[in-house]
């Protein structure tokens, strides 16, 4: 009996930590709901949709990043791509370019940035961490230059259509943004799990040399993720601008780190070869859920800025626990 419980507990602990954390948060919120003083709209469908909506951008970013991480790379330029893309979309639309064309141009731009990142990191074998970081800085500068550091938005005559891009509610309830996010999730999941390219990414991330000797075109297969990451970043930039009807140059490298962090919390490894679409999504959802829960509990009004501190602590706690778990498995002192 005792060994059964022990086995059961071990099995639960071996489940994805981020998922367990989500369950914990939901559980705690349910407890809070029992007390009328701390009751909140946490479990309402309205909140659920709102939660998805505010995290869809990060999810789209994170899913593109997942492929890059699995293949053993990293893309810290996504903040910059997102910013520039959003601004370019707005500026194009304001000059009369039809919305679909504007979107395509932005995505191609994102792809181009990805191609440059890929060329220098993969073909020239340079450390992607610093290259994409530099690219992000560069693009942030571009964004500032394009907008003279002021936020821009779409002119009135186009704004309704543009806003509808993200915000139009299908079936009266679900914003397009969420649908787009789900589509991206499904696509990335399928790519990683069932395509040759996806499996090759796992191989390359697992062991570059072995993959090379097995006839996998490592250069090509390791480059494509950067293009995908650039495209998803560009897409998310357009969607974000559409969501707010505003293009802003402030996002920069902070976004990239947050997304990579969240994805790692979910279980996709920076070392490569490990992870997946759902794992990453869960990590992102966890962090978004926390933010949401804090809002619902109106912690802000008791101790302002506490949510960010708690979020940082949760990230540290999960990564720490992850490292510690690895340490325990190791024999070394």
């Amino acid at each position: 009996m005792i060994t059964n419980i022990k086995e059961y507990i071990t099995k639960i602990l071996s489940l994805q930590k981020a998922f367990l954390a989500i369950l914990l948060v939901v559980f705690i919120m349910a407890l809070f709901n029992l007390n009328p003083k701390t009751h909140s709209e946490f479990f309402s469908s309205y909140n659920f949709i709102d939660l998805l909506k505010s995290n869809s951008i990060y999810l789209i970013l994170g899913l593109g990043q997942t492929i890059v991480l699995v293949a053993g790379g990293v893309d810290l330029s996504i903040g910059g791509v997102m910013t520039v893309s959003g601004i370019v979309a707005i500026q194009l639309i304001n000059s009369g370019v039809p919305i679909p064309i504007a979107i395509i141009i932005c995505i191609v731009l994102g792809m181009a940035v990805g191609a440059i990142n890929a060329y220098i990191s993969v073909y020239q074998k340079t450390e992607p961490f610093i290259i994409t970081l530099g690219m992000g800085v560069l693009l942030t500068g571009v964004a500032q230059q394009l907008t003279d550091a002021h936020p821009v938005s779409v002119d009135f005559s186009y704004s309704e259509d543009f806003l509808n891009l993200s915000n139009y509610k299908l079936f009266g309830q679900i914003p397009v943004l969420i649908i787009v996010m789900l589509v991206v999730l499904a696509v990335i999941y399928w790519v990683l799990r069932s395509t040759s390219f996806g499996r090759n990414c796992y191989a390359i991330g697992g062991d570059y040399e072995v993959a090379k000797y097995s006839g996998i075109n490592v250069l090509r297969n390791k480059s494509l993720p950067y293009l995908i990451s650039g495209m998803t970043a560009a897409l998310s930039g357009v969607m974000l601008s559409s969501q707010l009807n505003a293009g802003n140059s402030i996002f920069g490298d902070v976004t990239a780190l947050y997304v990579v962090c969240a994805v790692v919390v979910g279980g996709t490894s920076v070392a490569g070869g490990i992870g997946g679409a759902f794992k990453s999504a869960i990590g992102l959802v966890l962090l978004g859920l926390l933010s949401n829960a804090f809002n619902m509990l109106r912690i802000d009004t008791y101790v302002p800025y506490l949510p960010t501190a708690l979020q940082g602590l949760i990230i540290v706690a999960i990564i720490w626990a992850d490292c510690y778990g690895r340490k325990r498995k190791r024999e070394e002192v």
Binding site: R193, S194, T195, S196, R199, N200, Y202, A203, G205, G206, D207, E209, V210, A211, K212, Y213, S214, G215, I216, G273, I274, E331, E332, V333
Partner: protein
């Protein structure tokens, strides 16, 4: 040497390959026949791995001709080589640890094999054909070395290989697993597959190879049937001189006990007890995985322990990490030189002074002159071949790198020196130098714990031999009296 009714599956004629500053292969010619187990021996630097890498498509030959299965081979990539029917199983094992068994077998051929389901079902069939029961969904990182080798063999079979090259396959296998491997090699031979078997372990060559090729300094010295050559002849061909003795005479030792392990208990080790005498070389024999490396690492404070009770010179000591161990006069030359012993990008000098730094420090500052003197001293006394003390140690040969690691520890004048596979991957000449060194160490009053997979090495160098099996010490022998078989039998035994 042509066998009756056999065709040469592989014909190598006058193949040469040069690297900057080194001629790795000089007009090498040999033939391998179907259904033969063809051994290849030679010191490090003889050219064996260069030749294999040319065959497998990693390197391109400078001149000469390679004909495989009747077809001339030029400018091939590794995958082309595999598709041709020539597979190679490297010592370091070419598998991706984070992926499943099935996917590893069909790496790079995911869609061709029909995606997820196709890959796993076909993998199952292949594994069953070599009587391997491993689950194809299992992650490779969870497998033992011998299981991983089975996967590599399955991979080779998946290409319908006609020739399989095995590079030092037995260095990490237990005798039981080796048995299994030999069985499979014979089965492959019966299917008509030719095997090139590279090994430093001459016993293996004599045990199951049909033919052997001896290489030295980029040349093929000779290719003969295994029963037409003696061990001494083979060694002298490998080394280029006759070696009267492979080993120096065994040193005498004092009766005084310097180290006593009353108990060590870890996840793997169960109630280890042993004593080490002053001036003694204690050999530790056990199959890989028996706990021999775990024992010395636990002693040295490198790994976690549950219980540990160690006495040096009769006094109880606390060793919780390598720094404690060093302070108690212990030293350890680890098993894997490249990963655990060397700082490859650093100079020879810095690698040698590594452990002595604390001794060279006063008020926080390092005495650099002393540091230079230390390294010069060791380079000279150990005869380390290096362009200068400031050369990056990566550039040195395996033997010289190992000597540098040894020099690092000798500088500390340890009372107890632990050597874990000290001559692995080192040529016969350098090996002998290391044996002489070991003798000198104990003559000067130090004691050595020697772990080695080469039984003859342990037998010839040790004063006493302990066998360790399944985490327990289960036998003690006097190597001058006991036979190799007796000792190995104990090492096999499961309590």
């Amino acid at each position: 040497m042509k066998k009756d009714n056999s065709d040469a599956i592989l014909k190598i004629k006058n193949v040469s390959k040069a690297f900057p500053g080194v001629k790795a292969l000089d007009r090498v010619s040999l033939e391998v026949f179907t259904g033969t187990i063809h051994g290849v021996v030679g010191e490090n630097g003889a050219g064996k791995s260069t030749l294999m890498k040319i065959l497998s498509g990693v390197y391109e030959k400078d001149e000469g001709e390679v004909v495989f299965d009747g077809n001339k081979v030029e400018n091939i990539t590794p995958i082309q080589s595999m598709n041709m029917g020539l597979s190679i199983i490297y010592q370091e094992l070419n598998l991706i640890n984070t992926m499943s068994v099935g996917e590893n077998i069909f790496l790079g051929r995911f869609s061709e094999m029909g995606g997820r389901t196709g890959v796993h079902s076909k993998a199952r069939i292949l594994l069953d054909s070599i009587a391997c029961k491993i689950d194809t969904q299992k992650q490779v990182s969870e497998l033992s070395v011998s299981d991983k080798q089975m996967i590599e063999i399955a991979k080779a079979l998946s290409f319908d290989s006609k020739l399989i090259i095995m590079d030092e396959p037995s260095s990490s296998l237990t005798a039981e697993e080796m048995h299994q491997l030999i069985k499979i090699i014979h089965e492959l031979k019966n299917k008509g597959i030719a095997i090139i078997y590279i090994s430093h372990k001459l016993d293996e060559i004599f045990n199951f190879c049909d033919v052997v090729t001896v290489m030295r300094d980029g040349h093929v010295i000779d290719t003969r049937n295994v029963n037409a050559i003696s061990r001494n002849e083979m060694i002298s061909m490998m080394v280029g001189r006759t070696i009267e003795n492979e080993y120096p005479p065994r040193p005498n030792c004092v009766a005084e006990t310097i180290l006593e392990i009353k108990n060590i208990n870890t996840k793997k080790l169960k109630n280890i007890q042993l004593t080490l005498k002053k001036g003694e070389i204690l050999g530790l024999v056990g199959l890989v995985g028996s706990g021999r490396t775990e024992l010395v690492r636990a002693l040295f404070g490198a790994d976690k322990v549950n219980k540990k009770s160690v006495y040096i010179d009769g006094k109880l000591v606390e060793i919780n990490n390598p720094i404690d161990a060093i302070n108690q006069g212990l030293a350890m030359v680890p098993e894997d030189r490249k990963l655990q012993g060397l700082l490859l990008q650093f100079a020879v000098e810095k690698n040698i002074s590594l452990s002595s730094l604390a001794n060279l420090t006063s008020y926080g500052f390092i005495n650099e002159k002393e540091e230079g003197a230390i390294s010069e001293r060791q380079i000279k006394s150990l005869n380390i071949k290096t362009p200068s003390a400031k050369t990056r140690i990566q550039m040195l040969s395996g033997g010289n790198q190992q000597k540098a690691v040894l020099g690092r520890w000798l500088e500390m004048k340890p009372r107890i020196l632990i050597l874990d596979e000290p001559t692995k991957g080192i040529d016969v000449g350098a090996k002998y130098e290391i044996y002489l060194l070991m003798k000198k160490i104990v003559e000067d009053g130090g004691s050595i714990i020697l772990i080695s997979s080469e039984l003859s090495e342990v037998l010839h160098m040790s004063n006493r031999v302990l066998t360790i099996c399944d985490g327990r010490i289960n036998g003690e022998f006097d190597p001058s009296q006991a036979s190799a078989d007796e000792i190995m039998a104990k090492a096999f035994e499961f309590a």
